[in-house]
């Protein structure tokens, strides 16, 4: 019995969500912990895996795997699962983790549980998982010959194992099937710098939602962002009404921000918006509704019309 975890590499290290997933996998009591990495497992990644208690790191090295192709990655995960005789396979709940594991599920005709936060029983597999964008939890029995799960982000904190693992590197013999390369990244276009990086890297973000009232309702928001040397972030209502461009959107399907200060004006604070701003160090909400989730979840709040409050703040700042 063993568990295989798909480890994603970010800047040469096992990514944070991968380390969370390894921590969770270890807690399952489902036998030896194995990792699988697509591409060569660099020293730092192996060290991360060792710390997390991984016994074997399976790596797959092939020129055909240099550009991402979900089906080919799935074949690698399957090969690692066979090598480890795994009956549980986990992936981080990232875009790639979800996609690769869904391919494994489809290829092997297995069930897959997405965004798991807890396992109640392994045999049969009973999980708690996030649904409705995280607004609700579903208890589900999703048993399968091999149990496939993706982990919801930040459901557990990454913790090193009590005893480090051997983390022996083992190279998988994979013959990449050309059919698995029918959909492969042809090229990567670097991000337009000015766009999201200004928002995701900003120390201060001034946010605005439907409360802005219309495309002309952002002058005080823009002015305050400029005054504080920060960026403007908006809710989905604002982008879908065309008031502001999508690259300014904060949330589940926009940017994730982690500024020192998020000043959220006229934003209700839906779960999908919160997904993008929860890591802000301090949140101040400006809202006419004292019961809006953004207000109750914030550190500070001003109850009032943003069109009156923001100009007064600008004046006070001088």
């Amino acid at each position: 019995m063993s568990v295989v975890v798909l480890v994603e590499v970010e800047e040469g290290r096992a990514s944070l969500v991968s380390r969370e997933t390894l921590t969770f996998a270890r807690s399952l009591g489902a036998g030896d912990l194995h990792a699988v990495v697509v591409g060569e497992a660099g020293e730092a990644v192996v060290a991360d895996c060792r710390e997390m208690g991984v016994v074997v790191v399976h790596e797959a090295v092939d020129p055909a795997l240099e550009r991402y192709a979900a089906a080919a990655w799935a074949a690698v995960v399957e090969a690692a699962g066979r090598a480890a005789r795994a009956n549980v396979v986990l992936a981080p709940g990232t875009g790639r983790g979800m996609e690769v594991l869904a391919h494994v599920a489809a290829r092997r005709n297995l069930r897959m549980a997405a965004n798991v936060v807890a396992v109640e029983s392994l045999d049969p597999l009973v999980v708690q998982r996030q649904v409705v964008g995280g607004a609700a939890l579903e208890r589900a029995t999703v048993d399968s010959r091999v149990r496939l799960m993706t982990m919801a982000g930040h459901a557990v904190d990454p913790k090193p194992a009590d005893a480090a693992g051997e983390a022996t590197v083992s190279r998988l013999a994979v013959a990449v099937d050309p059919r698995d390369l029918r959909a492969q990244v042809a090229r990567v276009e670097k991000r337009e710098q000015a766009d999201t990086s200004g928002l995701t890297g900003a120390r201060v973000v001034v946010g605005a939602g439907r409360g802005a009232g219309g495309p002309d309702g952002f002058s005080a928001v823009d002015a305050l962002a400029t005054r504080l040397g920060g960026a403007v972030g908006v809710s989905r209502v604002v982008t879908s009404l065309g008031w502001r461009p999508h690259h300014e959107q904060v949330g589940q399907t926009g940017s994730r921000i982690a500024p020192d200060l998020y000043l959220a004006c006229g934003i209700s604070g839906s779960i999908q918006h919160w997904a993008g701003c929860a890591s802000s160090r301090t949140i101040i909400a400006v809202n006419t509704d004292p019961d809006a989730p953004m207000v109750t979840k914030a550190d500070y709040a001003v109850i009032g019309d943003m069109h009156e409050v923001l100009p007064a703040v600008l004046e006070e700042l001088g």
Binding site: E10, Y68, A70, G95, M98, E99, A102, H103, A105, A106, N109, R111, M112, A114, N115, V131, V132, G133, A136, L137, E138, R139, A140, V142, D143, R182, A183, Q184, V185, A186, V188, E189, K190, R191, R203, L228, G229, G230, R236, T239, S240, H246, T253, D260, I284, P290, P293, K297, D299, Y300, A301, V302, I303, G304, E308, V309, A312, V313, E316, L317
Partner: protein
């Protein structure tokens, strides 16, 4: 001519507060209303963008009860051509079942002479969020699949699809026919015109049955987690709170000068 099939699911509006049915098994949509999820609306907009200039068609398909015709008609109101309802109790189906029902409908249309160059789905459904129907469908149809894309262009029998990856925009070039799952953000949403609404009312929606047997979703129960207790400090009401707010800004050292 590009013919596109778009799969949409009728879901309780996920943007508001989640209220459960008394048995704790479903989200009660009677308060919030029902809608199509944001990603699927983007998929419809992409499909119309592709089909319109090429003289192709856009078919909107939903697997669900008769009520789902409302979501199919919303797609037609913003430019889709026709609709298919695969009648089933969507709550009793798991993602593998839905994929199988969609595949059967696609094959049924193909046997009747209508092929789809592209099948678009959402990346994940707003309610169950299984993140897999599109990928399962691609294997059933034996077509390449690209997940999480935001734009599509078609030239001849090749499509160029773009989505955001960890290092930038990832560009895929695939042979058609293909399947793709869409994330919102790459295309402006479409709003129905009066003409569109009228067309939607009259448009033909074919109802078909699924011949498969459901394996189910495995759902045992739903719960809505309690929000953590509020720790907010209210600085005041209206513009008179500005000095207090600015004092906090200074304390946080985010004010320069």
């Amino acid at each position: 001519m590009t013919n596109v099939l778009v799969c949409v699911k009728r879901v309780p509006d996920p943007t508001g507060e989640v209220v459960l049915t008394p048995d704790g098994l479903r989200v009660d949509g009677r308060f919030a209303g029902y809608t199509t999820s944001a990603h699927e609306e983007a998929a419809v907009a992409l499909a119309v963008q592709l089909a319109e200039p090429s003289g192709g068609t856009v078919t909107v398909l939903s697997v669900g009860s008769e009520d789902s015709i409302e979501q199919i008609r919303s797609g037609i109101a913003v430019g889709a051509t026709d609709g298919i309802l695969v009648e089933a109790d969507a709550d009793l189906l798991g993602p593998a079942d839905v994929a199988s029902a969609i595949a059967e409908a696609v094959q049924g249309r193909e046997a009747a002479g209508t092929g789809y160059d592209l099948v678009l789905l959402g990346n994940d459904a707003a309610d169950t969020g299984d993140f897999q129907v599109g990928i399962r469908l691609s294997y059933l149809l034996d077509r390449p699949v690209v997940a999480g894309i935001q734009t599509v262009e078609v030239e001849g029998d090749r499509a160029t699809l773009r989505g955001e990856g960890p290092e930038g925009t990832e560009v895929y070039e695939v042979d058609l026919p293909a399947v793709a799952t869409v994330l919102e953000g790459g295309v402006a949403p479409r709003y129905p015109s009066v003409m569109g609404r009228m067309r939607a009312k009259k448009a033909e929606v074919e109802t078909v049955a699924w011949s498969g047997t459901a394996s189910g979703s495995g759902r045992d129960a739903l719960t809505v987690p309690e929000p953590p207790p509020s720790e907010v400090t209210v600085l005041g009401e209206g513009p008179s709170a500005a000095p207090a707010l600015v004092a906090v800004l200074r304390e946080l050292k985010v004010v320069h000068g």
